[in-house]
């Protein structure tokens, strides 16, 4: 292939991913407001289009049109780069997520490993934002994000190993294909539970939203951000929610199975993902927040041993089954 065709092709893929991300984020924000609204005896957005569907679009436009405020006394380069770094991993992860048997922007052997590694990166942006903002609330929020990282990241990664052992591959497409007979959520129920819980912690979702605990530290790491920089954080948060739920679907809920037709597969995959997202939003509107030390206890003393036990049992069973065969 000529180099410029390859370049154009890559750019086109990127554009599609970009478009998809923005659409997803807008839909998710709208969905969150509606779901939470109806769970709380209210309507959610009602103006601007039928049932307020244009509300988030206008909100996004408003955020983009706002003045770019850069406060005094900040670490300027870190401050400016933090929202971008928050956004890049989310964007990159999308290129490795398969939506249907062959519908994946970049398919390579260890995509699961790569996705998990990229997801861990988003914490750096919290730390950068917290450190550079010249605000004590932000600092506490950023440090909380970093401190939290160790306690969920390890169980999160370990919980996927059970799936990897069963599927015998680190490629997300292969993992889905291995789930033809049974969804891994059934044999790997512990893994699924740990993955989803730690995944919520990974994206600072509600029971674990200590870095932006509004009742304690105002808005946490993004206190000083406004306009499109804040929008980048906001967008990344929702895209990450989608990614975690999509990953959970791919790893444990059979991805696009039982369909193989590309269109049906994509729809099936999205429906499963949105059901999981609904569950996350449900959690968001019911649960109070953990305290940091309690969450660390939970991570280290409960999740980590559980995930190790899960790997041990899975390995044992897989080995025995292989021997019997």
């Amino acid at each position: 292939m000529v180099w410029w065709i390859a370049l154009l092709w890559a750019l086109l893929k990127l554009m599609i991913v970009f478009l998809f991300i923005f659409l997803t984020a807008l839909i998710l924000i709208y969905m969150l407001r509606k779901v939470m609204g109806h769970m709380q005896y209210r309507m959610g957005p009602r103006h601007h289009g039928p049932h307020g569907i244009w509300q988030t679009v206008f909100d996004a436009l408003k955020l983009l049109g706002k003045e770019d405020i850069i406060p005094d006394g900040i670490d300027k380069y870190v401050y400016i780069w933090a929202p971008i770094i928050a956004f890049i991993p989310s964007l990159t992860v999308f290129t490795f997520l398969p939506f249907a048997p062959k519908l994946v922007a970049a398919n390579f052997e260890i995509s699961l490993f790569f996705v998990l590694a990229l997801l861990g990166l988003s914490t750096i942006s919290l730390l950068m934002a917290g450190w550079s903002s010249n605000n004590k609330y932000s600092l506490i929020g950023g440090i909380r994000g970093a401190a939290q990282l160790i306690s969920y990241e390890i169980p999160l990664v370990l919980s996927t190993i059970g799936v990897v052992i069963m599927a015998g591959s680190l490629n997300l497409t292969e993992i889905v294909n291995a789930q033809t007979r049974i969804w891994y959520a059934i044999p790997q129920i512990i893994g699924f539970f740990i993955f989803f819980t730690c995944g919520l912690a990974e994206i600072n979702h509600t029971p674990f939203d200590m870095p932006e605990a509004e009742s304690e530290i105002v808005s946490g790491f993004n206190t000083e951000y406004s306009g499109f920089r804040f929008a980048a954080f906001f967008l990344a948060e929702f895209v990450n929610l989608f990614i975690i739920c999509a990953l959970a679907v791919l790893l444990f809920l059979g991805g696009w199975k039982p369909f193989t037709n590309p269109v049906a597969a994509v729809i099936c995959f999205l429906i499963k993902t949105y059901i999981l997202i609904f569950v996350a939003m449900w959690i968001r509107s019911t649960f109070p927040r953990f305290r940091l030390d309690q969450f660390m206890n939970f991570g280290w003393k409960f999740m980590l041993p559980l995930s190790l036990a899960n790997i041990f049992i899975t390995g044992l069973v897989v080995l025995t089954v292989d021997k019997i065969r």
């Binding site: 939470m36 509004e214 009742s215 105002v218 509107s285 019911t286 109070p288 305290r291």
Partner: protein
């Protein structure tokens, strides 16, 4: 006991002696909360000294809502001062009016008719439900859950609607008059009130299901902000905050006024004096308030809703202190009358002020994440702290 508190104060002072401005040990971070922090309940401000996430010392700063209500009282007639009383603890306005009107009535040696007394009890208890409903919502917000806030406020709206039927106002009512209440119970009030109570009981069960039994909430609040019974008495706490520490002290029970002794109800109390107990005491108090309202509605006597009082209210010279059980604790009015139509001096005792006093004692060595919960569990209203 006194010595213990004294020692503690000395300890705090020692810390502050080491930490003169400019020479803080590097481990401490000083951080300002308020007056417009999302969870300081209005305009409370404090400067906290932090060791990591632990609070070492706080320095409360109050006065952002000072309106000089007590001083204004000296230049107003007794009737003119009454609307200002509403603005003390604005979540429990009826209870403030209750105390003030009772005090002036006692000074003048008159008594409201039985019907007015019953209506007053209904109003006060409805308002108590409202105030605790706000507490419930705020507690949810402080723990990081948004839903209880809206649940609580939706329910409060219905109680407010009932009081609106009586008084016409929604937050500051100015409904009680010296010698009774301003107007009679309107037609249709009984039915709506009964419907409301039925619905309220259902909702209360729902709150407990949603929030009280939540594992995370219990983890967050149990054993946090513990105040022992002795400490609570030493800090002259009152109301639900005191009762959660195990002292069954309720002015409605020990010094019954306005016919509270006629109704059959209990004083809920806790044992541990932690945030969770204070929460539960308030939740149970709402159920008891509903019980009182039910009985008062059923046994509402016929007759006048106002007694005859002189056009110009001139209590004879003298002084008295009268206290009622407000929504947050003991609301007391110390009125000195010199025989004119204006009070010589009015001193108002509000519970929130005393509760805030203890904040330094309670918040020490707790995490920042606990401070909204502990502050919220006192249910302070800055309007009544600053006056």
């Amino acid at each position: 006991m006194k010595n213990k508190i004294k020692n503690e104060i000395q300890d705090i002072d020692e810390i502050s002696e080491i930490n003169e401005p400019g020479e803080y040990p590097r481990d401490y971070m000083e951080i300002n909360f308020g007056p417009h922090h999302p969870s300081t309940h209005g305009v409370f401000r404090f400067i906290a000294k932090l060791d990591g996430e632990k609070i070492i010392k706080i320095e409360p700063i109050i006065g952002y809502l000072h309106r000089g209500i007590e001083k204004i009282g000296e230049n107003r007639t007794y009737v003119q001062f009454k609307p200002l009383v509403d603005r003390l603890d604005y979540t429990g306005a009826m209870n403030n009016e209750f105390g003030y009107c009772l005090a002036v009535e006692k000074l003048m040696n008159i008594e409201a008719p039985l019907k007015a007394q019953a209506i007053r009890v209904i109003c006060a208890e409805l308002n108590r439900i409202c105030a605790h409903e706000v507490f419930f919502g705020a507690m949810g917000l402080e723990a990081g859950a948004f839903t209880p806030f809206l649940f609580g406020f939706k329910d409060r709206e219905m109680a407010i609607h009932l009081m609106e039927m009586l008084a016409g106002g929604r937050l500051t009512f100015n409904y009680f008059t010296i010698g009774g209440v301003r107007q009679d119970v309107p037609a249709g009030f009984f039915k709506e009130a009964k419907d409301y109570l039925k619905q309220f009981k259902k909702n209360l069960a729902e709150y407990h299901e949603l929030f009280s039994g939540n594992e995370i909430f219990m983890k967050r609040t149990k054993g946090i902000g513990v105040i022992s019974r002795e400490d609570a008495i030493e800090w002259s706490m009152s109301g639900p905050t005191l009762r959660a520490s195990g002292a069954r002290f309720d002015i409605r029970k020990i010094e019954p006024y306005s016919g509270y002794d006629k109704y059959d109800w209990e004083v809920p109390a806790g044992n541990n004096g932690d945030v969770y107990d204070r929460y539960l005491v308030r939740m149970n108090e709402m159920a008891q308030s509903a019980r009182i309202i039910e009985q008062a509605l059923e046994s509402l006597p016929d007759g006048d809703y106002q007694t005859k009082v002189p056009r110009i209210i001139k209590p004879p010279a003298g002084e008295l202190y009268l206290r009622v059980e407000g929504t947050k604790g003991e609301v007391g009015f110390y009125i000195v009358s010199d025989g004119t139509d204006k009070p010589y001096r009015i001193k108002i005792r509000t519970p929130s002020f005393n509760h805030l006093n203890a904040l330094n004692h309670v918040l020490r060595n707790s995490y920042i994440a606990d401070f909204p919960l502990i502050l919220g569990s006192f249910d302070t209203v800055m309007g009544s702290v600053d006056r």
